[in-house]
């Protein structure tokens, strides 16, 4: 039986790959930046995770893809949309999350999720690149700075300016014009991030502002974007350690479900599931002192008296 599953997020600006084991734990992950829906990037990310995990593609029980290039991958057994995968991945990273804000290269999305990472409702940017990573990329170029520097510089903004355009190209014109008027880079970049936050608020309102909120996607690593979005939302954002791989992780976990279902159907034993079941049983505490082992429970149970004792005697034990 194969013991690993791969998820690939073939995005518009980066490719991400994740390998998980049969318990859904991340074994390896990789992010490759090589431009729009790049074959080279996805091959690099896949090769990298396989090397890290000392595995081969044939060792994967399932390979699931997501992202704009999801249908272009021959190695993928199945593909799912970014919405489904980001929801699943984000809740795996932050189990208490009920709202996922994902700002990727090509689109921004908000997803209301349940405790299982299932999509309750979602909204995506409708018309253009406004409020996306691409928007930041265009404006970084206009400001002649590196994309990675933007957030730090914007955090130093002192004055509130406004960029109203929804179009990345016209916003670029606004940015150049503000710079020509003598406004500082810091203040202009503050306005750029404020503009993204405003667009995000609109999307959040469409699915309902119900926290806790987690932010995923590459833009979650931009401090200023997080700051301005938190400010307009009025709630803190939870940031996973590796927000950019949420989609790939979700794809891998969906692949894992699928693979396990196939194994179960063919009557194969999944040892890791027994381990999980045993752990869950152990973690249960239906009566004081009981952690899934009645004998231990008897031994460790503190004395109970009166009404409480009568209630306890009516409780059904595990075995």
């Amino acid at each position: 039986m194969k013991k690993h599953v791969m998820g690939i997020d073939f995005g518009s600006t980066t490719a991400k790959a994740v390998i998980v084991d049969m318990r859904g734990r991340i074994i390896a992950w990789s992010v490759s930046h090589m431009g729009a829906v790049s074959d080279a990037a996805v091959h690099e990310a896949v090769a990298d995770v396989l090397t890290q995990a000392s595995l081969k593609q044939e060792d994967m029980g399932r390979c699931v893809s997501t992202g704009y290039g999801r249908r272009m991958l021959d190695i993928a057994d199945k593909n799912f949309t970014e919405i489904t995968c980001h929801a699943r991945g984000a809740v795996a990273m932050v189990p208490e999350a009920r709202l996922v804000i994902d700002i990727g290269g090509q689109d921004s999305k908000t997803i209301a999720v349940d405790a299982n990472g299932l999509v309750a409702q979602f909204a995506m940017n409708d018309r253009c690149a406004a409020g996306t990573g691409k928007f930041l990329e265009v404006l970084a170029r206009a400001m002649e700075i590196e994309l990675e520097e933007m957030g730090d510089i914007a955090m130093k903004a002192q004055e509130e300016l406004k960029i109203s355009s929804m179009c990345a190209t016209f916003a670029e014109t606004e940015v150049i014009s503000l710079r020509a008027e003598g406004h500082s880079k810091e203040n202009v970049l503050g306005a750029v991030h404020q503009s993204i936050a405003t667009r995000t608020l609109g999307l959040v309102n469409r699915v309902g502002k119900k926290g806790p909120a987690v932010m995923t996607g590459g833009v979650a690593r931009n401090k200023a974007a997080v700051h301005y979005i938190e400010k307009v939302l009025g709630i803190p954002l939870i940031l996973p350690e590796t927000p950019q791989i949420a989609g790939a992780l979700g794809a891998a976990l969906i692949g894992l479900d699928d693979y396990k279902a196939e194994l179960a159907e063919s009557g194969q034993t999944i040892e890791e599931d027994y381990e999980v079941d045993a752990q869950m049983a152990f973690d249960k505490a239906c009566v004081t002192g009981c952690k899934g082992d009645p004998a231990e429970a008897e031994k460790n149970a503190p004395a109970v008296t009166g009404k409480l004792k009568s209630m306890m005697s009516n409780l059904q034990k595990h075995f």
């Binding site: 970014e82 489904t84 995506m124």
Partner: protein, 448 residues
């Protein structure tokens, strides 16, 4: 996790109704008749919006419905020359593309007759049907809700040198704010009905002035008898689509808009909808599905994307999604035949104009849509955010929120347009619809 939603399947996934093929012939015959109007010495009226065509047909006036011509050009992928002519003339790309296409037809019509008025464009070729519309002898403006409608008529008038007589019918918005207010009831409804009916009586006098003849009321009664019957048959057939699997989809009803909305109100339309009703009934009896592997049932909120009618029908069928109802098809086009008294048709006609789906206050509009979603047991709503139609797009977020909170169903939105395909982005629609179908799958699985 269930099997993923996948696109690739051989073409021809949609099992369209066979009886609707007749619509193509009826539409062609009708436009041939329109194009011959001047040769036959007929008066021509241009109008948009409300279906006032029976008033004109009864008086032997040839009627040209602006949206219908634009939709026909878009469906045939022949809208380009008209839209280019309109833009060159100065009409913005964000203007309603029905209006822009139709105004382009007016521009090309003038060029065709008078030679090019532009340094940039040639006289349209004979095969360019955007130039074939006969110029109007009169314009009647009778548009519910849409503010562009009246401006469109005014712009048309300007293009023809402001020499064309215009008659305006004001169709008030239904506020539904009174205590007794509701769908087709209450004091406001009674008052606005009488207000519109009075104007329609005045419109008939205007028509008499144009024709120089007494108005043939008997002919109108006869035509409205046909309209009422056709409408009843259409609604009966639509109602049968509650069946699972659905015997017909929104795309069949979209093809059937022309017969109910703008084609001659002869017994042909009664025959058309009799055949449609019979085919639908037969499909229900035999269990024949419009989408062979119906797995999802969806509601479509928005005007049809006419350039993409066949494309969308195939796309949704490949997703195993039956689009069973929609705001545009199921809430418009003589949708309340009970209000029509063929012996005294004016009041009922005015009332049907009033209940244009956009002309209600939001609570009524939303209740009607939620009612259809429940009736047809849909799993989700697809919103077609029509780029150049604010009137239809305005309440979409509110409708989506109500669908989620009241019915607990999924919604998604894609951008497109009624007649300008440059606003349509296929991959964006794919991602959104697939995400919605995946969420529906997840919800079904988690229910077990």
């Amino acid at each position: 996790m269930n099997a993923p939603v996948t696109l690739p399947k051989p073409p021809g996934a949609a099992n369209k109704l066979k009886s609707t093929r007749m619509a193509g012939k009826l539409v062609n015959d009708y436009w041939e008749m329109v194009w011959r109007a001047k040769e036959e010495g007929k008066l021509v009226c241009w109008y948009e919006g409300s279906s006032i065509n029976p008033f004109l047909e009864a008086a032997d006036i040839v009627w040209v419905h602006g949206e219908a011509y634009s939709a026909m050009l878009a469906a045939r992928h022949q809208e380009g020359p008209a839209q280019a002519a309109a833009e060159e003339r100065g009409y913005l790309r964000e203007l309603c593309s029905y209006a822009r296409t139709h105004l382009g037809c007016a521009v090309n019509n003038q060029r065709h007759r008078n030679g090019s008025d532009s340094a940039f464009a040639d006289v349209p070729a004979d095969e360019d049907i955007s130039a074939k519309l006969p110029p109007p002898d009169m314009i009647i403006s009778a548009y519910a809700y849409c503010s562009t409608g009246q401006q469109w008529d005014e712009m048309t008038s300007r293009l023809f040198g402001k020499k064309i007589p215009i008659f305006n019918v004001s169709i008030p918005w239904i506020w539904a704010s009174g205590k007794d207010a509701g769908y087709c009831r209450g004091q406001e409804w009674e008052e606005t009905s009488r207000y519109v009916a009075r104007q329609l009586e005045e419109m008939v006098k205007f028509i008499e002035e144009q024709t120089g003849k007494p108005y043939p009321w008997d002919r109108l009664r006869e035509l409205m008898g046909n309209v009422k019957k056709a409408s009843e048959l259409r609604l009966e057939a639509m109602d049968m689509c509650r069946a699972k699997p659905a015997p017909a989809t929104l795309f069949d009803w979209s093809v059937s808009i022309a017969p109910i909305n703008q084609l001659p109100c002869t017994t042909d339309i009664v025959d058309y909808f009799t055949n449609v009703r019979n085919e639908v009934a037969e499909r229900v009896r035999t269990g024949e599905a419009a989408v062979p592997k119906e797995k999802y049932r969806l509601f479509f909120d928005g005007i049809m994307n006419w350039n993409k009618l066949g494309w969308l029908a195939e796309k949704f069928a490949r997703y195993d999604a039956a689009v069973v109802a929609g705001r545009y098809t199921h809430m418009a086009f003589w949708q309340e035949p009970d209000l029509i008294d063929p012996n005294n048709p004016v009041m009922g006609m005015g009332q049907n104009y009033l209940i244009c789906p956009n002309n209600h206050s939001s609570p009524i509009l939303i209740d009607l849509i939620m009612g259809l979603c429940e009736k047809y047991e849909v799993d989700g709503i697809v919103f077609h955010a029509t780029r150049t139609c604010r009137a239809f797009t305005n309440p979409m977020f509110m409708i989506a929120q109500e669908a989620t909170s009241r019915l607990g169903i999924q919604t998604t939105m894609f951008e497109g347009d009624v007649a300008d395909e440059t606003f349509y982005k296929d991959e964006l629609l794919n991602t959104r619809v697939e995400a919605m179908l995946e969420a529906i799958d997840q919800k079904r699985l988690s229910a077990f």
